[in-house]
Amino acid sequence: MSLLGILAEAWRTLASHRGRASMTLFGVVWGTAAVIFLTSWGAGVQTMVERGFFRSGRNLTQVWPGRVRAEFSPAVDRRFLWFTNDDVLALRRRARLPDRIAGESSAHRGISFRERMRTLDVRGVEPVLQEMRGVTIAAGRGLGPQDQLQRRRVALLGVDARTRLLGAAGGVGSWIRIEGKPFQVVGLLARVGTQLSRDSSALDEQVWVPLSTYQGFWPAPWTEETVVGRIVFRIPDRNRLLEAQHEVRAILAERLRVPPDDDEAVGMFSSVEMLNRLGSERFTAVLFVLAVTTLGIGGIGVLTLMLDAVHERRQEIGLRLALGARPRDVLRQFFLETLVITLGGGVLGVLLGVGACLVLARIPAPDLVPLPELSPRIVVVAIACMATIGLAAALAPARRAMAVDPSIALRQE
């Protein structure tokens, strides 16, 4: 049979079961569209989650000092540990896996601007932390090495910190007082947006000053050492997170003279870990399975439709066999007919799914609302699923058609 003949037969089968055929085809169309749309959307969610977790910096790990175990010191107030500038320097010298390391100290402090008084998260940061956090300067300048070296009294303001503290009256060049100490605002940070992971406050609400200045004004009361509140490091390869954490912990443990496996002594948190634990890949996989199931149900619809068609047309099949058709000719005819029906629905489904993704992706959405992210790979996977299900659905009707007894041609009603 020619391809045209097969197309015509497929069309006739559909036309003679109009109601059922349209529902069956709808199943295939919808299933294929769902595979494309949901998988794309899952990819969008994944990107959104990743962006949300990395808003305060990509592949960062925070390290904070904890306390030694009770075996070493029974007195609670003698058991706490702290990091110093030397620890940061030692890490920079010895740790191989992180590519950036910075110290940071912070506390909520009262800040005044003219008559206004606000309590904000004030952070002493090493200049490299600006790059690690991935912030951009909206106005003025960022913190430079000279600010750090000379302990300058300069400050960067997050968007919300600026609004709350300066209002419309101030900007770059304004003088503010942090717990009475005068600082000049030298730069404003661009909006960071919604963070899915934050350390006590959002970046947009923070006030950044040079770490050295911070340490000078607000030293630790219990020691002469230059204390650093926490250490932040970045790794270039996300898959080596555990290795990197292990390396950093070992170096710090040695310096603090605690066992290297004591995670109470050196605490760590990474948004990478969070991201992995959330398992948005698994979420996408679940969506994919749901969509493929829908497509499979569509395939079962085609299967039963074609089984009925074979039953209705067994007289015709018997006749074709009597006229010299080999069983495999009949097999091929029904196999291709079923495949044509599935593929027809599938092509419509691909168009629908791709169309829905393209239309939705154009809609302007608020910050961190996931939009479908279509990729050629998704379309290829959807077509492969659809073709596989089409082949599976075509097999049984074709085999049943092949098994029709040719003598039925003589035994008609």
């Binding site: 074709r320 009597a322 006229l323 010299g324 058709a325 080999r326 000719d329 003598s407 041609a409 035994r411």
Partner: protein, 230 residues
């Protein structure tokens, strides 16, 4: 009769399983039909006529016994080989014509050629020649629904002839036709017989039996009588 008959059945049996019971449709049939004969097979309903026709037409294989067609034993032939025999050696004419309603007369006639991989133009040429043989040239482009009963059966006969088969098998070819049209169809079959073709007709109609060279009567799955027509 020539030394090697066209058809030779020896002790042919056909058993069907009907649930637990076994139905013996044919219980040992011996039959030889020579090339160029016109044979009528008669018998009451359920006697095994149709089963015999099935076996003669290579639509099913005998459960036991031997069937030789043109000297070749086909009793155990594989499905593909049987399909090839049906396509090349045998032409079927059915009681209710068995035309595909969606195809034109010419397309229906072309069907057997389709499975022999005949090229399109050649198919059309041969189909029109076969339609001319049954006097329906001008009806080639009509659908079965647009044809009368007699015309439909002529299309079916043209389809049976299009592969130049050695054996024409007709199952109650006049059963669905009025007597005048039936007579025309019989005249057509007689004409083909006179042209040298072997024709086997299964029928209830004694008049058809009487008009054949030879009349075989089946009863309870065996041949009850095999006599030249009076």
């Amino acid at each position: 009769m020539s030394a090697a008959p066209l058809i030779a059945l020896e002790g042919v049996r056909k058993t069907y399983a009907m649930g637990r019971a076994e139905v013996q449709a044919l219980r040992g049939v011996d039959l030889a039909i020579g090339s160029g004969e016109l044979v009528a097979i008669m018998g009451p309903s359920g006697s095994g006529k149709t089963t015999l026709l099935e076996i003669l037409g290579c639509l099913s294989r005998p459960s036991a016994g031997r069937y030789q067609l043109e000297g070749r034993d086909v009793s155990q032939a594989e499905p593909d080989a049987l399909a090839q025999l049906r396509g090349e050696r045998i032409g079927f004419v059915f009681q209710s014509f068995n035309l595909l309603p969606r195809l034109t007369a010419a397309e229906n006639v072309e069907l057997p050629l389709l499975y022999r991989r005949v090229a399109r133009a050649e198919r059309r040429r041969r189909a029109l020649a076969a339609l001319a043989q049954v006097g329906l040239t001008e009806r080639a482009a009509h659908l079965p629904a647009e044809l009368s009963g007699g015309e439909r059966q002529r299309v079916a006969i043209a389809r049976a002839l299009v592969n130049q088969p050695t054996l024409l098998l007709a199952d109650e070819p006049t059963g669905n036709l009025d007597s005048r049209t039936g007579a025309e169809i019989m005249e057509l079959l007689h004409g083909l017989h006179r042209g040298g073709r072997t024709v086997v007709i299964v029928t209830h109609d004694p008049a058809i039996g009487a008009s054949a060279d030879r009349c075989v009567t089946i009863r309870d799955g065996t041949i009850a009588a095999d006599e030249p027509a009076p």
